[in-house]
């Protein structure tokens, strides 16, 4: 068990290193971060030279990479070109909104999709199942950002003007403060981010449950005299939830991608918004740091998926 975890950890570290190289190179290629400054006639050449030296931009790339990695391992992500403050502080300010958004989305998604998937499987082809399947397809086929736009329009603007009072906010995270206010701001981004996941997971859960429903051991359980209810809730459920654990963990990376779009549409002050923004403005250090974070997120959740699965499924052995 221990050796298994260690092996996976090692692999993760290797992957992160490789990813860091890829990110570093790509971002470096994306342009000269000091371009704006250079084009500004009021900035003096000496200042530019000083900044260049300060940011280490005159060094050959491999050395820049080395410095960057070295700093990262110390927890220092460097300095933002755009805002002249440490990247760490920028990220620290924006991490909570993203965690809030993604976290609540995850909880919401799981709470909705799993029971629905299971119910759909048991009542296969019922009206609810068919409707659910159709909506899953639609949800699955919808571009996140467009859904956000539509929700802003319909539930944000139209609804509020029809009701005469602001029900949902369409941008930002806080207005007047307080929990209700937060929820009003969180609602639309939450739905936007969650729709695709709910669609995906409920389909998957349904399919996993269907597989289990056709198993021989359920027949054995019935032959022992168990009621249908017990057979579903005890025997079937345990087995049907197993693969979903993995799927949910593995999709966190994709959810982050969705968060980037959602945050941008709703001006939600999180890391996703920051990423798009920093790429536009050529603020490399921020961009690279965020890329590393998103890769680390994926790697971390892959690890979680592996370990969690091996814990809940007794058939998994560790060699």
């Amino acid at each position: 068990m221990f050796a298994y975890i260690v092996r996976k950890l090692l692999f993760s570290v290797v992957v992160l290193f490789m990813a860091s190289v890829v990110f570093f190179v790509l971002v470096s290629l994306s342009g000269d971060p000091l371009l704006n400054l250079k084009q500004n006639p009021r900035i003096q050449q000496s200042d530019i030279e000083r900044l260049t030296a300060e940011y280490g931009l005159d060094q050959p790339l491999p050395i820049q990479y080395g410095i960057w990695v070295g700093d990262m391992l110390h927890g220092d992500f460097g300095t933002s070109f755009e805002q002249s403050t440490s990247v760490n502080s920028i990220i620290a300010r924006r991490i909570w909104p993203t965690v809030l958004l993604m976290g609540s989305s995850l909880i919401f998604t799981v709470a909705v999709a799993i029971p629905f998937g299971i119910y759909s499987a048991i009542k296969k082809y019922s009206a609810l199942d068919n409707a659910g399947t159709f909506f899953s397809f639609v949800g699955y086929s919808m571009p996140t950002f467009w859904l956000g736009l539509i929700l802003q329009l319909v539930l944000g603007v139209y609804l509020s003007s029809w009701a005469g009072v602001r029900i949902f906010y369409i941008s930002g995270m806080t207005g007047s403060g307080g929990l209700i206010d937060l929820l009003q701001h969180l609602a639309l981004p939450l739905i936007t981010l969650s729709v695709i996941s709910v669609a995906e997971f409920s389909r998957f859960q349904r399919s996993a449950m269907l597989d289990v429903l056709s198993s021989d051991y359920l027949r054995t359980a019935r032959a022992k005299g168990l009621s249908r209810r017990v057979v579903y809730l005890k025997h079937a459920l345990r087995n049907a939830l197993l693969p979903t654990v993995t799927v949910v963990a593995l999709s966190m990376g994709a959810i982050f991608g969705g968060a980037i779009l959602t945050e941008t549409v709703f001006a939600w002050p999180g890391l996703g918004f920051l990423l798009a923004d920093s790429l536009f403005k050529g603020d490399y250090n921020v961009a690279r740091a965020l890329l590393m974070i998103s890769a680390a997120l994926i790697v971390f959740f892959n690890l979680v998926a592996d370990i969690a699965y091996s814990l809940v499924d007794p058939r998994v052995s560790f060699d």
């Binding site: 086929s141 536009f280 961009a287």
Partner: protein
Amino acid sequence: MVDQRRDMGPRAQPSPFEVAEVGGEHYGKVRGRTQREIIWKRFKRHRLALVGGAILLLLYLAALATPVIAPYNFAEIDYTSFNQSPSLDHPMGTDRLGRDELTRVLYGGRISLALGLAVGVFSTVIGATFGIIAGYYSKVVDVLTMGFVDFMLTLPYIPLLLVMGSIFQFTAVTITIAMIILLWPRMARLVRGQVLVVRDQEYVQAAKAVGVSDVKIMLRHILPNVVGVMVVEATLIVALAILFESAISFLGLGIQPPTPSWGNLLTDARSNMIEQWWLTWFPGLMIVITALCVNFLGDGLRDALDPKAVE
């Protein structure tokens, strides 16, 4: 020719009428079915898949015919009629520069549809090749290939596409290539998994024992049995490609104006969502409908090709 009959693979089918002969005339002629017929019959039961497929076909035909059927030029600016809501002249309205929205949607469609298809096809070909080779040969080849694939799979799609988009301005071709690079590992992993299942089947062992060459085995025995999952995953990839491209273009880092793509049409729309509703709804609905049809098609194919499906 001699091999045709001795081939023990799953595709060797007795003639449909053989099945009935056993019963002699007392059965009447019960016609058995070839595999292809079974698949087609099952597929036809999926009304949504059929509708989806039909709509997709229409869309692709429209895309091909766009230069001919588009009422205007997509860059044609007409100051006298900007921001008009849908009318007979402009069925999808015009944007703030007076450009006809329908034309722009049609041209945008060309890009998105072509791109989706290209990404689907190439990712599949590349991914399946790697997957089959890795799964078949196992050991070193497998470990190396899958190690690489696993690495690629941990790369975050959207952030990476954004970065790439900011490095160089994406054109339709370059964004297609970028997506192929990011998406083929998905196919590789899936195919390899399926190959592992198929490889241990007895007919493969039998073919090997007889001395059939590796390449032949991979093509004749393994490939037909992984085609099922391949096709389904391919449709998923097509849908993803369309969704990704529109997302990246929407953020301004994908296809650049003036070339229209459904994604960047929505960027323009964003500033005027409330008044010029047509600019938001039409391109967006096109994306949804296309992705939906692709997904329905994929679902229908999955059910039709699933050998485990109970009639």
